[in-house]
Amino acid sequence: MIDLLLRSAPDWALAHAAPLLVMVPLVLAPVLTLVPNGRIAWFISIAGTAASLIFSLILLAIVQTPETSGVVSYAIGNWLPPLGIEFRVDALNAMILVLVSAMGVLASVMSYPTVVAEIPKEKTSLFYSAFLACFAGLCGVAITGDAFNLFVFLEISSLSTYVLVALGASRDRRALHAAFNYLVMGTIGATFFIIGVGFLYAATGTLNMADIASKLPALEGSRTVQAGFAFIVVGLGLKAAMWPLHQWLPNAYSYGPSFVTMFLSATATKVALYALIRFLFSVFNPQFVFESAAFTALLMPLGIAAMIACSFQAVFQTDVRRMLAYSSVAQVGYMILGISIGTAAGLSAGLFHLLNHAMIKGALFMAVAGVVLTYKGTNIRDFAGLGRSAPWTMTAFAIAGLSLIGVPLTAGFQSKLQLGYALFENGWWWAVILVVFSSFLAVIYVGRILEAVFFQPPVNPRKARKEAPIVLLVPLWILALANIYFGITTEIPLGLASDAAAAAFGLEMFR
């Protein structure tokens, strides 16, 4: 597969895959504003995301070949790093790029029916334009090796996300207020991030992340670096919905258009979490982070609090999307817990869960999008009896739901297992008990939906269209089957995650 891709790709694609991955969607985004027809805009956005997926697979293949020493570095405009902006791909962000672009393709394939149903007709192509800008921004965050450039891409994706969430207003006006609050919180987060980058720049005189990493060990104990570290962690934590900085997320997810919720839940927080991991492990020395800064003592309780508190909150929600949004924050907690161990095994488990959670939440929100399409509601009541009227949609939903709980033979089980191993290895057996407890809470909230779906009589038995349309069912089932497949053979995702963890630890080695 990898060999085939490398052999069949033309030279220009191999040489320039890194910038093209971001440029194609970024250039197509303004083009889409001129496209009058929503259906053409849909095709263009599928093409744009698919191109990015191909380029990200090429990058992954190059990174995995032994000759490249695991790093692809591309100097934009031939301005060499550390002065110029560098796109830098290693096993860690190659994995994130493949995840984001694959989710982008699946999301744009399924989008058209839900966009037609939820977005005013004259805004369809503008909607796709904002989506591609958001997608390009997320890819840019994942690919760049320059700290300030990361901020710019973060804001490109965030600004278009605010617009996308606000477009939910035609279904529910609360989307506007949710988008505004998200804008305020997101901007504060991004601004905190650049304050932190400013401190790092003041201390090291460089903005290139690998260069910063190579200069930081000499500055041990510097108050400037410590202040920068604190600002960056808070800023990126806000974007990644790290508890207790997650307040923007439930509203934004439950009132945004269902397609946007699906795309964001599978990518946006994941990319922010990637940036956090990049800074914690690659830019700052893990030793600085986890020993001298006593960071474990901060990160670990936050992860556990997210797992427990947000799972409890999820149990008491009556709106399915809100319930899943709280569950997302709880799942971010698992990843933070894995990261907080500070070992390669812990980071690998966190990244593995990140991959799996993207597939799980992608599938769940996709199924919810299908339900919104046919039944217009996302309350648990609207789900009653759907098991009989929409069996395909709901079976996929159930598979993803079981994976969310962590039932054996699903992907969610495997990553929780890895997390458990990593925790045991570090002697945190009590944390394993808390993980299991939080999974029981997941049984309750997922169980509530599944009970309504399969065992309740439908509220209104006379429904015109029952099953979700085929363009939605196909991506949904791809994700659902992926959940089962990766629950049985963990070789591929686990290999990706452990390579990525190794790459995160060793960024300065390549300098």
């Binding site: 100097a75 031939n78 301005w79 060499l80 790093p81 550390p82 002065l83 110029g84 300030f148 901020f151 710019v152 804001e155 600004l159 605010y162 617009v163 606000a166 207003a169 006006r173 609360r174 506007l176 207020h177 988008a179 505004f180 804008l183 305020v184 901007t187 504060i188 991004a190 601004t191 650049i194 304050i195 400013g198 720049y201 003041a202 903005l207 009556t318 709106d319 309350n379 648990i380 009541r381 009653a384 309740q456 009589p457 509220v459």
Partner: protein
């Protein structure tokens, strides 16, 4: 002590602005005022970066006097151009080939960064204002509290409907 404070006068002003901005963002109920606070907060960061770029005794970063690369008017611009781009980034990426400068200049890079950040700030502000316009259309108010109250009523009405259904299903 006094010297310590006065030497950092810029930073005190920046911290002051930052706190004022954040306070307005959190404490104000009016959505426009919250955006004003947010902009103030962002502006303080611009000032922070510009302050970082100041080199003691440095002047504006435009080559002049003995540092000016040219002897004649027309050639000068061309020479600068060459020095920057032609070596394929070699001169730029390579710290071992420094250009000896007679005068002291401030650091340009933070200024350039802030140009980008200002653009981001303007974009944020305009998206925020557009959202406020839409909120005003949908709710007839730009007070956070009132909007939240209306939202709460909607949510409670939905909740009551579901409770009714749940009880009905149990019976």
């Amino acid at each position: 002590m006094l010297e310590f404070i006065l030497e950092r006068a810029n930073y005190w002003a920046i911290i002051g602005l930052m706190m004022i901005g954040l306070y307005i963002t959190f404490a104000s109920g009016n959505l426009i005022k919250r955006l004003v606070g947010l902009s103030t907060f962002q502006t303080s960061v611009f000032l922070f970066y510009v302050t970082l770029g100041k080199v003691a005794g440095g002047t504006a970063p435009i080559l002049f006097g003995a540092d000016a690369p040219a002897h004649g008017g027309g050639h000068g611009a061309e020479d600068v151009h060459h020095a920057v781009t032609v070596p394929g980034g070699q001169a730029l990426g390579n710290a071992s080939a420094p250009v000896e400068l007679v005068n002291t200049y401030s650091n340009v890079l933070p200024h350039v960064l802030m140009l980008t950040a200002i653009v981001v700030g303007v974009a944020t502000l305009s998206v925020g204002l557009a959202l406020i316009v839409r909120i005003r259309e949908a709710y007839g108010s730009i007070e956070s509290d009132e909007v939240r109250e209306i939202d709460l009523e909607t949510a409670l009405a939905q909740e009551a409907e579901i409770d009714q259904w749940l009880n009905g299903a149990g019976a």
